[in-house]
């Protein structure tokens, strides 16, 4: 491929690797067939990733792997049993391995087959392992117990995912001690063997000096000197619990920064808040994708976080009000991401603007609820007729709307992603706001005209679209604006878009256009990508 002594781009392996990233496996296969030199270049890239579905494992040919196995870095090997085509000397440089085994109490190797041999062969390079167990241990009445010795020597292991295992505290400690480089742990449908949680206390503050632990069905007194010193792994920073939480193990992971909880059975948070409060002060990110059976435990969980930077997920509707107040009260200075997933909460009366006024680090704010666009307060002028108690007249029906007035300027200058759905806002107006923001971005500062008052802005935006035809990428937005403006012109003034904007609506546009870093917005009519602000 090289011409007369000079280097050709395709001679450089790093460039071929960059090209190969965009090619499918089949296309890489075609490249190998081009010539010997192309085969040598692209073959490592072809063999780099092997994702073998279970039904195809039988087709894997030993001789091919003997020849090319040393290129494999990422392997999904299906189910490992007594033998596997991947159990051979050439497959020794794996970085990423996904396997499953069938648990067994009867087999001498406990169903592990040749997996220990494979793992051992790759122990110096392995950085990610996903291991699932099939089967149910009838004796334990739990998933099969893990075999932690397999982790010995896995010094480079950073990411570990275990599915459908039972892990005792000793097993867990063996794993932690064997793998000093661990930083991400995922436990899916995995259970602890003993229940080591302290006695549940009635108050929200955990009783951290409990001297009793539960073993089986008995309470055992453990005095301070009997308890072994607490081994703590200094590297793990992310923990996922899927299906089942094992709070007691968090005490060994003091450096955890991110906690994911997903699909917990019965929505049971158990003693997670207590463990966090005592052992995990660095948790700053929460992803909660689970139902919560107990809203007060949910609030206790949020309350146990020292400095919250990111919250994504589901908030139980009964806890929503308190949750938002708590975040504002405790974490206004630190919160950067607040993304709440869809939920029914029409009754929510929370002034969400307070987040924009009080949270300087907010960059991603998504609350897809139907919110009242204005504050509601008890009307003091409604006279209470005799015979009725005044509480009846404070109920929602009698609260009077007071338009939102900014008490403070919006401080979230770094806000880049925003999703609010504001009740009672005209759909067309929502679109107009989004499009007006786009236009606002396209116009250089020197050419801006005064802000639109009522509906008149559409004609100016159409003119500017004409002037900026040559702008490559943004042309599509400009033409969309032009089309929209043209469309509205066609309907004349009778249509909704031409009505005077309410103070709230004007305020929203003004405030939003002040957010220079805003790049994605959804105020009820879909996501819009905003072009970058022109200087």
């Amino acid at each position: 491929m090289a011409t007369s002594g000079t280097t050709h781009a395709l001679d450089l392996p790093e460039i071929c690797a960059l090209i190969a990233i965009h090619l499918t496996k089949a296309e890489l296969g075609e490249c190998i067939l081009v010539s010997h030199q192309w085969a040598n270049t692209f073959r490592p890239l072809f063999w780099r990733t092997m994702l073998v579905p279970r039904h195809k494992v039988a087709l894997c040919r030993d001789e091919d792997l003997a020849r090319h196995g040393h290129h494999v870095r990422i392997l999904a090997a299906g189910r490992i049993q007594q033998s596997s085509p991947f159990d051979q000397a050439s497959v020794c440089s794996l970085q990423h391995l996904e396997v499953s085994t069938c648990g067994s109490n009867d087999e001498p190797d406990n169903g592990l087959g040749c997996l220990p041999a494979i793992v051992h062969r790759n122990k110096t390079s392995l950085s990610e392992l996903h291991w699932m167990c099939f089967g149910w241990d009838m004796k334990l009445n739990k998933p099969y117990r893990i075999w932690p010795e397999i982790f010995l020597g896995l010094e480079r292991l950073e990411t570990l995912m275990l599915s459908k295992w039972t892990i005792s505290i000793d097993d867990f400690l063996t794993i932690l001690k064997a793998c000093p480089s661990l930083n991400t742990l995922t436990f899916e449908a995995t259970e602890d063997l003993e229940d080591l949680s302290p006695l549940p206390s009635n108050s929200n503050v955990s009783n951290s000096n409990s001297n009793k632990i539960r073993r089986g069905s008995k309470m055992i007194d453990v005095s301070a000197q009997d308890r072994p010193p607490l081994f703590q792994h200094q590297g793990v920073h992310t923990v996922h619990y899927i299906g089942h939480a094992m709070p007691g193990y968090l005490r060994h992971l003091p450096k955890v920064q991110t906690l994911h909880l997903q699909n917990l059975t019965h929505g049971n948070l158990s003693t997670i808040p207590d463990e966090i409060r005592q052992y995990c002060p660095e948790i700053a990110s929460l992803h909660i994708l689970t139902l919560c059976s107990n809203p007060s435990r949910f609030l206790a969980l949020v309350d146990s976080i020292h400095t919250l930077r990111s919250f994504q997920g589901r908030v139980p509707s009964e806890a929503m009000q308190d949750f938002l107040e708590m975040v504002l009260a405790k974490h206004a200075e630190s919160i950067e991401t607040l993304c709440l997933t869809e939920a029914e909460s029409d009754g929510l009366r929370f002034n969400v603007w307070r987040f924009l006024e009080n949270c300087p680090r907010l960059t991603d704010f998504q609350i897809p609820y139907k919110l009242e666009g204005s504050l509601l307060e008890a009307s003091s002028t409604v006279a209470v007729p005799t015979g009725f108690t005044s509480s009846y007249f404070s109920s929602p029906r009698f609260l009077r709307r007071r338009p939102y007035e900014p008490t403070k300027p919006w401080v979230c200058q770094d806000l880049s992603k925003l999703w609010l759905r504001i009740k009672d806002m005209d759909i067309q107006l929502m679109e107009t706001i989004a499009l007006d923001l786009c236009v606002d971005r396209l116009i250089p500062l020197t050419e801006k005209v005064p802000k639109m008052a009522s509906g008149g802005g559409s004609s100016s935006s159409y003119q500017y679209q004409q002037q900026h035809q040559t702008q490559g990428r943004v042309q599509s937005v400009g033409s969309l604006v032009g089309h929209h403006a043209h469309h509205r012109h066609g309907y004349g003034h009778g249509h909704g878009g031409a009505r005077a904007h309410s103070p709230l609506e004007r305020l929203i546009v003004e405030k939003l256009s002040g957010l220079k870093k805003l790049s994605k917005i959804n105020i009820g009519s879909g996501w819009y990508d905003l072009p970058e602000m022109k200087d």
Binding site: M1, T7, H8, A9, L10, L12, E14, I15, L18, I19, A20, I21, H22, L23, T24, K25, A26, E27, G29, E30, C31, I32, L33, V34, S35, H36, W38, A39, F46, W47, M50, L51, V52, P53, K56, L59, C60, R61, D64, H68, G472, R473, E532
Partner: protein, 159 residues
């Protein structure tokens, strides 16, 4: 603040500093040398190629600097090459590979990515014979070797 770049064939190009600094190599050289008027020599890049590279950097001078993320999978990024970039890359094969080499040497990641994506798009959908025709390559496989490779490729493809 203008910066002068000298190509392999001794042609001088004067560009604005922010344009030149789209190349991380040049950016580091400027930082090391400090404020100086002396031109920066680029002995690996011919003037024709350097001209194209400068054209790219000037058009993209205001792009946000890409944050290096090891977990960033380029396939997950937008697969569309911008219209302007596509027109820019519509050059003969020799120039295309020269631009890629230059982008690699000068450490201009976005240009390198676009170049590699362009080559990938050329390769996509072609049989080995068509690829050979495109890049002027001689088939040096025996029929037995070809059959062997085809067998290997068969089971190793993606699920």
């Amino acid at each position: 603040m203008p910066v002068t770049l000298t190509s392999l064939d001794d042609v001088k190009f004067t560009v604005d500093k922010d344009v030149a600094e789209r190349s991380i190599l040049i950016k580091n050289m400027i930082e090391d040398v400090g404020e100086s008027d002396s031109p920066i020599p680029l002995p690996n890049v011919s003037s024709a190629v350097l001209k194209k590279v400068i054209e790219y950097c000037e058009h993209h001078r205001n792009d946000p600097v890409q944050v290096q993320d090891e977990t960033d999978d380029p396939r997950k990024r937008s697969n569309d090459i911008e219209e302007w970039d596509m027109k820019f890359m519509a050059v003969d094969q020799e120039m295309l590979f020269e631009i890629i080499l230059a982008a690699n040497y000068l450490d201009i990641k976005p240009l390198l990515d676009v170049g590699c994506k362009t080559v990938a798009n050329i390769i996509k959908g072609k049989t080995p014979e068509e690829i050979r025709k495109t890049f002027n390559i001689v088939n040096d496989f025996t029929p037995e070797e070809e059959a062997q490779i085809k067998k290997e490729n068969e089971w190793a493809e993606d699920r």
